[in-house]
Point group: C2
Chain length 270, copies 2
């Protein structure tokens, strides 16, 4: 295989740098149908899951590393571009003071519900109107840990392809399926096959420990400040309640999803 061809960029005003920086903005990501991910470990995870960036951006002057070589080869073999630039330019691109030494531009995935195969996993996570990209990425990371099939984003959620969400997912954005749908699309899809919809709720709920979870189990959490709309809760097959010993009546959304998902995992695994 021939050596990968690298292109060097030394100026902030270079159009490629402008393009890359524009990908921090949802509007531009949407138009280009790509997203940015950073870090050697994350890009290696992506490669091992079959996701190779269209464009690989590397800091000049970094030490050689076999995993970087492997990334370069993979990008070259699919006809992608390899850019070498200054660390401070890379920092501007990813918006991080202490940038990772590599970043990649990936094609956005198909996020249609129709592309999900619910038989592939016993747990699926569902988030409704989740606004915080950190929470969203954390849910992806938790989904990976519990062996979930993916994360279904209902209504107006944060963008799973934002730099913040990708970062918080710690690579799970590449291992978890992601679907986006409205509630009006999701409910008929769910009822068109097997699937138990579960949410934490205070309405006629049973204790979350020992509840009759069934696979495939769809664990749903709601918006950070509003929680789930009442009709969404009422459409659930199972409403469960977690102990709240203090003054607060709710958990952080990503925390609630994780506590519940680990309980479901224990129930379905045993």
């Amino acid at each position: 295989m021939p050596a990968p061809i690298r292109r060097e960029i030394t100026g902030f005003s270079n159009p490629t740098v402008k393009y890359l920086r524009s990908l921090r903005d949802k509007k531009h990501r949407k138009r280009e149908r790509v997203f940015l991910a950073e870090g050697l470990r994350l890009l290696t995870d992506a490669r091992e899951c079959g996701h190779v960036p269209q464009m690989l951006v590397m800091a000049a002057g970094r030490d050689p590393h076999p995993l970087v070589d492997a990334l370069e080869q993979a990008v070259a073999s699919v006809g992608g571009e390899i850019i070498v630039t200054r660390p401070d330019i890379l920092s501007k691109i990813t918006g991080k003071d202490n940038p990772q030494s590599v970043a990649g531009v990936f094609a956005e995935f198909d996020t249609s519900l129709a592309a999900l195969d619910r038989s592939k996993a016993t747990i699926w996570l569902v988030a409704q109107a989740l606004r915080d990209p950190g929470n969203l990425g954390t849910m992806l990371r938790t989904g990976d840990a519990v062996g979930a099939g993916g994360l279904i984003l209902l209504d107006d959620c944060a963008d799973p392809f934002s730099v913040e969400a990708v970062r918080a997912s710690m690579g799970a954005v590449f291992t978890q399926r992601i679907a986006r749908a409205t509630w009006q699309e999701f409910l008929p899809w769910l009822r068109g096959g097997d699937g138990q919809l579960v949410a934490a709720s205070l309405r006629e709920a049973v204790p979350y420990r020992g509840a009759p979870y069934a696979a495939p189990c769809f664990v749903m959490v709601g918006n950070e400040s509003q929680g789930l709309p009442e009709d969404y809760e009422l459409a659930c097959d199972l409403r469960v309640t977690m102990p709240m010993k203090g003054r607060a009546d709710s958990l952080n959304a990503a925390v609630a999803a994780a506590v519940l998902a680990y309980e479901v995992l224990a129930a379905l695994d045993s």
Copy 2:
């Protein structure tokens, strides 16, 4: 009781506004030994827990509300100051685009280990070198939910009194005890009384479900990227492991603390 005396501030360059804005900076908070909290619900929680702000800042032109009246009375009764200002100035103070209509300046709490009474609760959370104020606030919120006594911050953690941590704690900063210590201070303190130190670990660990938890149980998590130092793990009385079904080998720190803490709660409650 006489009506509280309000002082009106209309300019950004007012020294009080400068003082309030400076509290977004850790250095200034430390020097003044105070911190900022915002939101009517949060300030009401604080008041009901016996924490009254030294200074209450309110947006001009807000609708009357009995809880705001109660706050004003409480502040007046302790000789505190009440400031009325423009919403855009309040927004600058809290650094939030969509500001809450009230904010308060609170005296920092005593965060010495010696002030903790371990017999007050069966669960305590411990974080080591936690860098993200959002994670820290989320741990406080989880601590409140599981009925923990408080959060012990080891080594170089984010500031629990930062606006971000206070916000993420959803008021739990007022219900949970907070202590700060080095590992060298913490371990002798812990061993000076009852207490089981537990951490999630891959080293000679037992499954986290059904592990022999004992009260008071100190649930410890480590730094977001490094995890716990090896000697901290080895000093634990119990090392537990959580299923990791995917590619990742760890959870978000606040998520790990919550999954573990809910397991401990179930074990100690039954």
